[in-house]
Subunit: 191 residues, 4 copies
DNA sequence: TATGAATGAGCATTCATTCAT
DNA sequence: AATGAATGAATGCTCATTCAT
């Protein structure tokens, strides 16, 4: 019997190392060798668990994407406090900053690959749907009526995520909360 | 007599070729050879007019950034119609789409270089100032009171620019106008 | 009690898989992993039954060489019909084509290894001896007198084997027979 | 003005180095680095003059093929002495041995590439045509009547070329001449 | 006996850069 | 001013081999 290893766990370790590097230096500057070294393994180990570099990159994205969603979902109380849940998902520590940076990097990279682009669009659409539901719930209106407000909210959350992951010092939690609350205050009211 | 060449014009030609390529395939995938070929010149010409690749990339960014600002300023009427001016700056043809893509690509690239990061921050801050003035004018309030609304507006404009440059079909001018008008309608009112 | 396995049979299975692959893609492009997969086993199984890649390759050669000889010998009637026996050995189905391709590939590979070269020379010499006997029998002359005719016959048989294994459509059995009969017709007569 | 170099000559130098190595160790074992080193240049120089490895390999083949043909043509007297011309083309020194080895190696390699295979078939067909003409001339018969004899002659010449390039000591010029003359003696006579 | 995880050297290839002309 | 020849380091990837289980 060969040594028994947990494939999924190995892949997760390597994906996480890749996500770290992607956040730090970008996708193209991230090398297979670096990924291996960061994960405490050899280059060969990386290629052993992943078909090629794109495969690692995709795994890193899914890891980061899942992390952001998990933080949001985990923070949803009953009844939901949307501002708090969004703040939990937004960059507020090293890991969440990394996740947003990966997402940002990926959103550009994806535009050059048909399959990655679909992955990206699905993720975006799903997030807009969630936002629409949130706004409809918050404003007590239909999904249709909530559309434009939801697009505005998505824009604001994405903007905070972008900037806070790039320049965390300028975006402490209080500033994030302030803008988010301001946005919710504007939403769902007759203009 | 040496041949007389217009240095600035040569640099502009090459920068524009670089901007095209950066928008299409990203910074790292853009090669010096490709830049030369796209500009109708040799690789040697590129290195002759620019110190190194980073130098070309920076010139391409400044070109794209300037283009966006120029379109906005040129569209400002008296009295200003802010929605129209912003629509003029946002992606609505091949060139403006290219400029927004370059900006997007660059905003990520910049985070890895101290000097580029300063360039980026200056540009961002300047744009937020402009937006604040616009909102203060629109809502008839002070710059201080306009701050949060301006941040919201910036978020919305950036979001439209991002998405419309990546997926133009989903963001025809009417949709851009609709969201922009919705945003202005929410601005400057007591919540 | 350890599991009982038939070593020789396992080696034969793996050698045959290796021969298939060598015929298809050549020696260098054939990987240990592919050999294992083709044999329905793991890479580890291959290294378990063979010292290294050269060992598998040699086994594949001996398999193919033996196959060709076996077909020839089995087709020898009493009295011998040499044309028929040679036709039985030459490429006329998938397996015999494979065997000739392996032989062809090997004849080149062997020139780079002292020990393989001896293997190759022994095989060649044995085949020339057989041919000499055949010609002497056919022409009713001494082995000495048959030498040059035998070399000619060997050349023709090898040429047919080469070409028919590479381009079977151009070398149907009838064409093989025609050339072979022509060759025998020229043999053993006073020039 | 950049340094002026003779492209064709550079390519010829590199192709020749590649042909040497292919003859010695085979195609797959020949590396771009080795080719550069053998030609007295860097790896980068090789890729500068050739698109990729296949490109160098093809150039090496054409070089070897052309060499063999040139030796044959150059040795054709008026009236032609076919045995002498063929002997001039067959392996009789280091360079001609190399050329035959390259051809031999290539004939196998070609079977794995559609485009190389066409190259190979064209070369083979052309050689059979030449042989047919030679036999028709020698025997004073029509091309049609010469076909089988030509195939036999081709087989014999190829066999000598193969074996003499692999094992030169066993195939001194006298032995080559002896078999060749024997073959011609058998050709064009009523059996 | 048999597995497959892990290694790391080696490959073809790409590319920014240098520099002689 | 402008060229493009030349470099060589670096990349993603492949693969025979080793070895703990």
């Amino acid at each position: 019997m060969p040594k028994i290893v947990d494939h999924d766990e190995r892949r997760a370790t390597i994906s996480s190392a890749a996500a770290d590097l992607i956040a730090e230096v970008g996708i193209e500057a991230t090398t297979m060798k670096q990924i291996g070294a960061r994960a405490g393994r050899t280059t060969g180990a990386v290629t052993h668990y992943f078909a090629d570099k794109d495969d690692v990159v995709l795994a890193a994205l899914l890891l980061a994407d899942g992390s952001i969603q998990r933080r949001f979902t985990a923070a949803l109380t009953t009844p939901p406090n949307l501002v708090e849940a969004l703040l939990a998902a937004l960059p507020n520590d090293a890991e969440s900053r990394r996740d947003w940076r990966v997402w940002r990097v990926f959103s550009d990279y994806a535009t050059r690959s048909e399959s990655l682009l679909m992955q990206y669009r699905a993720s975006s659409a799903s997030w807009l749907d969630t936002a629409t539901e949130m706004v409809a719930y918050h404003a007590g209106c239909s999904a249709d009526e909530a559309r434009l407000d939801a697009e505005m909210l998505v824009a604001v959350v994405d903007a905070i995520g972008d900037e806070a992951s790039v320049d965390p010092d300028s975006w402490p939690p209080e500033r994030q909360r302030e803008l988010l609350e301001h946005c919710f205050a504007k939403i769902g009211r007759v203009a």
